[in-house]
């Protein structure tokens, strides 16, 4: 019964709710709740919830439903030829697991990132119902219609980027209510009417671009608008030049100015006249010659980290200070890509600083930047977000947020006595969360990102024990130096898919294999390649060991003893089924990660499993004599130097 695990991101209340919801599922695990019923179930659940006086959470929970409704309204108003809204599943408990949507710890939507998504259609007034929304990024689409006045209700909005669409109608005066707005970019639309004076009240406004519209009337010059120059307003039908200020230098000082200050500056004035006339004319000519480009207008003091895709570039010095000069005591782990250090930045935040191994050729700077930026574009709750990078002629460093609970591998195997083992609920959540993260890399990144080293050590856990896939994109990053030589296989013994090992060719299905093995690690708590078991005369490879035990239906031998029997047999069996589907030796027969997500959510596993069993039976009859599975792995890995295999992080 893996369906309907309520997504859980919040601390305290929301988390408890998740557990309770799951508890209810488990109580009645015989009733299969189709996902379609979840909505009804949810409202029923809320009623039950209030009755059992779970009062601390009632504020949270219903609002999540509203958030989802608001975004669903948007979805239904948009045409989505690229299927970027595919994951916007109305039946989920809240929208926080949807792609392109981010939430805060209270499961309230804070970001909608749908720039460059080829969307058409119109915006909806319900967008005004997202009280904690900070970033509404819908730029570079073909969205038409008006800007809803209700956007003025988004009291926490920091950035409103609707530029490069087909929006028409006026700029709503209600936008003047957005007291926290720092970025307002409405350029390259067909907006008409006048610029609302109310916008000048938004003192937080740092970036304004209204260029390339058909706005009319005067350009406000007071309040927050004092910082904005004509590039914010170019290519409109606005009154030109901007009314009253700022006066270019008078080419001849006016007589009145001369008389008031004449006593002091009389003699200077005449000289100044000449002095200014020449530059003024020069400027006029120069401005005429210069084509009026379309630029963004940005006054001082922008927070460099606020925009999506905007990475902080750290100086080496900053990172040296943060990590105590890369002191050994701060090493969190060593991996195939280099060492990872714990660090504390000047702002007090904890980070994981990954110092990439050297050995690169000169001139790869731009490629590095491009790659790093590509990694940074992958924003999902279950992916480790890149915070920034550092690049010097001798160093390449990546900066990630610090994950409080380490990796799944460390929680399974290097757990201090004082910490409780990962319970079964958490393990299930990890399986779903990491699947979602990988599915995002495969299906929603352009170009798609293949992880190439999926394993428990690369699945991290945040303070809520939510799975966060780390280390993605690095395999490619590190290949730049040797694109002209044979690309080394990256990965970890026991996790490497057979076709990757034999051909060096990786695909999404390579990751699916690694994920399947990771699931087995999660269930058994064992290492994928554990020589210790060799001594016990078990199969060296976890996979074969599991298959053997499953065949003999010895579940209790298989499941991690740390769980002390606290698990649901059916759930374990289903998770093993998924794992075995994922680790089929023929890549094409493995499910896609998005299919895995659906199976974990309770959709389609039974059918797929039945089909697999039939085929497996057939295969076993066929392959009874030769056993390809065991020796290819041991043989081929023996050719690879340990250096090429990334160890724990």
């Amino acid at each position: 019964m893996l369906s309907g695990i309520p997504a859980r991101n919040g601390n305290g209340g929301a988390a408890d709710l998740g557990d309770l919801a799951f508890f209810l599922f488990v109580l009645d695990s015989r009733i299969w709740l189709p996902t379609k019923c979840l909505c009804e179930f949810r409202s029923l659940f809320v009623t039950v919830l209030v009755k059992i006086a779970f009062c601390a959470d009632e504020l949270n929970f219903p609002s999540e439903a509203v958030l989802g409704d608001a975004l669903n309204a948007l979805k239904s108003n948009l045409a989505d030829p690229n299927n970027v809204l595919q994951s916007w599943d109305a039946t989920l408990v809240n929208p926080c697991t949807w792609f392109h949507v981010s939430c805060n710890s209270e499961n309230s939507v804070t970001r909608v990132d749908l720039g460059n998504a080829n969307l058409t259609g119109t915006l909806v007034s319900q967008l005004g119902q997202l009280p904690n929304l900070q970033y509404l990024e819908l730029y570079s689409n073909n969205i038409s219609g008006k800007i809803p006045e209700e956007l003025g209700n988004l009291a926490n909005l920091v950035s409103l980027d609707l530029y490069t669409n087909n929006l028409s109608g006026p700029i709503p005066t209600t936008l003047g209510n957005l007291g926290k707005l720092r970025f307002l970019r409405l350029n390259n639309n067909s907006l008409s009417g006048t610029i609302p004076m109310t916008l000048t009240n938004v003192t937080s406004l740092q970036v304004l671009d209204l260029s390339n519209n058909v706005l009319t009337g005067d350009i406000p010059i007071n309040g927050s608008f004092t910082m904005f120059t004509p590039i914010s307003f170019s290519n409109n039908k606005l009154n030109n030049p901007p009314p009253s200020p700022p006066p270019p230098i008078p080419s001849t000082p006016s007589p009145s100015a001369g008389t008031t200050t004449g006593a002091i500056a009389g003699g200077v004035a005449a000289a100044a006249a000449l002095f200014f006339a020449i530059p003024a004319i020069a400027l006029a000519m120069w401005r005429r010659k210069k084509p009026q480009d379309h630029f963004f207008d940005v006054p001082a003091e922008e927070d460099p980290e606020v925009h999506l895709g905007q990475l902080k570039r750290f100086s080496l010095r900053e990172l040296q200070v943060a990590t105590d000069n890369f002191a050994n005591k701060n090493i969190l782990g060593r991996g195939g890509f280099g060492k990872v250090y714990r660090g504390r930045l000047a702002d007090g935040s904890l980070v994981a600083v990954k110092r990439l191994k050297e050995e690169r050729t000169q001139g790869g700077e731009l490629q590095f930047q491009t790659e790093v930026e590509m990694i940074s574009m992958a924003v999902h709750r279950n992916l480790l977000r890149l915070r920034g990078f550092c690049m010097t002629p001798t160093e390449r460093v990546l900066v990630y947020p610090y994950m409080a609970n380490g990796s799944v591998a460390s929680c399974l195997r290097d757990r201090p006595e004082s910490r409780p083992p990962l319970d079964w609920q958490i393990r299930k959540r990890i399986s779903l969360g990491s699947a979602r993260g990988l599915a995002y890399l495969h299906d929603h990144c352009d170009p798609k990102i293949i992880h190439r080293d999926v394993k428990a050590a690369n699945i991290l856990l945040d303070e809520e024990f939510e799975a966060v896939v780390g280390d993605f994109g690095l395999a490619k990053l590190m290949d730049y130096k040797d694109t002209h030589v044979t690309t080394a296989v990256r990965g970890t013994i026991g996790h490497i898919a057979p076709e990757y090992l034999s051909t060096g060719k990786s695909s999404e299905k390579t990751d699916v294999f690694g994920y399947g093995v990771m699931l087995l690690e999660l269930i058994t708590g064992q290492r994928a390649f554990d020589l210790a078991r060799l001594a016990n005369d078990d199969d060296v490879m976890l996979l074969d060991w599991v298959k053997g035990l499953l065949k003999d239906r010895r579940l209790e031998t298989l499941v991690d003893s740390d769980l002390q029997g606290n698990y649901v047999d059916d759930e374990v069996e289903q998770l093993i089924q998924v794992a075995l589907l994922c680790t089929q030796s023929t890549a094409s027969e493995r499910p896609k990660m998005s299919e895995v997500v659906r199976m974990l959510e309770g959709d389609g596993l039974a059918e797929r499993w039945e089909e697999w069993q039939k085929e497996e039976m057939f295969r076993q009859d066929l392959n009874h004599t030769r056993h390809p599975n065991t020796h290819w792995i041991v043989d081929s890995t023996s050719h690879i130097s340990p250096d090429e295999l990334s160890g724990p992080r």
Binding site: V207, P247, T261, F295, E373, T486, T503
Partner: protein, 220 residues
């Protein structure tokens, strides 16, 4: 593995090459005036503490990618440099007049360094400049009256330098000027009434902005 990997490796490399091509297309083209601006600026200043590590020709050719800046101290917007902030880096040398090529510059902050030489009159061509902070350096020479051409200046901070000559009274014409500080220089002559006693509701400049210039006299 190597023996069997030939064909696969080829495909793999082709795949990688296509990814590289796609990736290369994502970077936006640079702006030649920004490049000239940065190149000249880096030539005119010295960086004894090597704080500007990536201030290299390669970066100048491509300092921005959309909103991302690759250059220490620079902030980008829509592929253009819009802010340069190189403060407290022990920089020496002078301010290149070619800085005027950074035509989209909204804020220039070179404060708390050891820069010498004059304030280039060419800064007048930074018509989008809203903030100019050159305070706490060793700049000498006059305050260029041409700064009045930068009609959008909100802030002029030149305190703690070695500036001489008079305060150009034309600066009072900058209607958006809300902060002006020339304290602790070697300025002389009258404090322009156009700054201290501004007409209408223009923000007045406090007396403290003129302190520490022993030859200044006048109203505030």
């Amino acid at each position: 593995m190597k023996g069997g990997g030939g064909g696969g490796g080829l495909v793999w490399r082709a795949l990688l090459a296509s990814v590289l091509t796609c990736a290369a297309l994502r970077t936006t083209s640079s702006d030649p005036s920004d490049e000239a601006c940065l190149t000249h600026l880096s030539e005119s200043i010295q960086d004894p503490t090597r704080s500007l590590q990536n201030w290299t020709k390669a970066t100048f050719a491509n300092p921005c990618n959309g909103f991302t800046s690759y250059l220490r101290g620079a902030t980008c917007n829509n592929g253009r440099i819009y802010k340069l902030s190189l403060t407290n880096l022990s920089l020496r040398g002078s301010i290149s007049p070619y800085l005027a090529n950074c035509t989209n510059l909204q804020a220039l902050d070179l404060s708390s360094n050891a820069l010498t030489g004059p304030i280039p009159t060419d800064l007048q061509y930074l018509v989008n400049l809203a903030v100019l902070n050159l305070s706490s350096n060793r700049l000498n020479g006059p305050i260029p009256p041409q700064l009045t051409m930068c009609a959008y200046l909100n802030v002029i901070d030149l305190h703690d330098n070695l500036l001489t000559g008079q305060i150009p009274q034309q600066l009072g014409l900058l209607l958006r000027l809300s902060a002006f500080d020339v304290s602790n220089n070697r300025l002389s002559g009258p404090i322009p009434a156009t700054l201290t006693n501004r007409s209408g509701n223009l923000p007045k400049i406090n007396a403290s902005s003129f302190e520490g210039n022993k030859d200044l006299f006048g109203s505030p």
